[in-house]
Amino acid sequence: MTKKPTLGRQIFPAVALTVVGVGFISQLDNPVGDVVALEGAIGTLAPSASATTSTLVPSAATSVVVPSEVTTTLAPSPLSTVEGTGNCDGDVVTGPTAVFKWGDLQLQATFTQKNVLCNVTVVKYPNEDDKSLSINQSALPVYNQEAIEIGSAQIAVVSGATDSWRAYTAGLQAILDARPE
């Protein structure tokens, strides 16, 4: 809190839908420090049939490593080549590591040729501890699902976690903010 908030300068309206995904990645205040060797990481970090899958969007992970320097230079791809959002075969951007209380988290986003965010993969995973979870039955409006994926459940906003700015920039809410409607 010693630093003045810089609200005005960090605004990023999501009106420019085709580029906002890249916009949020490039505005991360901590540049990517280390590039994760994905071929090893994906194998160990992405669970298979578990209900507590850490893969947020269930499509095949694109195992392309983008060096950190590239993340800030990703201009929108030519818009005329692909119509629609079907093919998740565009740029792959690895975010910075978010430091949570119990460990580090790093996400990787994949975009379509039109720079629409289409896949998010966890490349660094904070915790392998017990994930047996239960929810109190008194919470009537709650729908407990095996694994709610952002894409399919149309989650608009998330509560909890991602409290610090650093965690936010690599966390679920930032991805939601960057996600085109």
Binding site: M1, T2, P5, T6, L7, G8, Q10, I11, F12, P13, A14, V15, L17, V20, F24, T53, S54, L56, F100, K101, L105, V122, Y125, P126, N127, D129, D130, K131, L133, S134, I135, N136, S138, A139, L140, P141, V142, Y143, I148, I150, A153, Q154, I155, A156, V157, V158, S159, G160, A161, T162, D163, S164, W165, A167, Y168, L172, Q173, D177, A178, E181
Partner: protein
Amino acid sequence: MSAEVRFTFAAKAMGTAVSAHIDDVVPQEIADDAWESVGVFLRDIEDRFSTFLPTSEISRINKGELHVLDASPDVVEVLDACTWLEHLSDGVFNARRPDGSIDPAGFVKGWAAERAARLLAEAGLKNYYLRIGGDIQAHGRQATGDKWRVGIVDPHDATRIHSYVDIPENWAIATSGVAERGQHIWGKDSQPTNSQFSSMTVIGPHLMWADAFATIAYALGDAGIDWVEKFPDYTAFTLK
């Protein structure tokens, strides 16, 4: 695409992440100006409430330079609310440090977020949410006509959404727990709590109460859910 324009803003303020999502079809300038007003407001709140700033009203009160009753109406309102929360929670909620100085930071965030959300309404916006550090004040509905669907982050796995809630119009949601930053949840005698829960979420009309109630209920553990039920509009649930 222009008819489907939505606005998303994000920034760092009050030491945490603030974001807003506006689902109204309005000119860009309206959304920009509304968001700017939020920024101005939050900077002002930080200037007056931060214990890290020696010139803030809170710091001046703690130094004996300013009497509480001479503080600005906002400061009096916040300290008044903190006193009531301390009373209602039998001291579980406490805006005073062990040395007797006051630090209402645990309440100010939710209070300020609710006030900031009100600024968006005053700008003529009807369908939006404002989020500060994982606590959300919503207004209206999504552009689809659906209620705002809020995912609750899995307290054991921040990459995953554990459950979600479709919250009523103009309601708020707040989550306290280990997924949050820092040790701002304190039990009686200003000792950190050792709750058996990993997170506690409260929904209700006002974010300032939902946020405070989530903090209190988390500290109370098993008794926390019953405690929140004393307030008819508010519901608490936990993720273990």
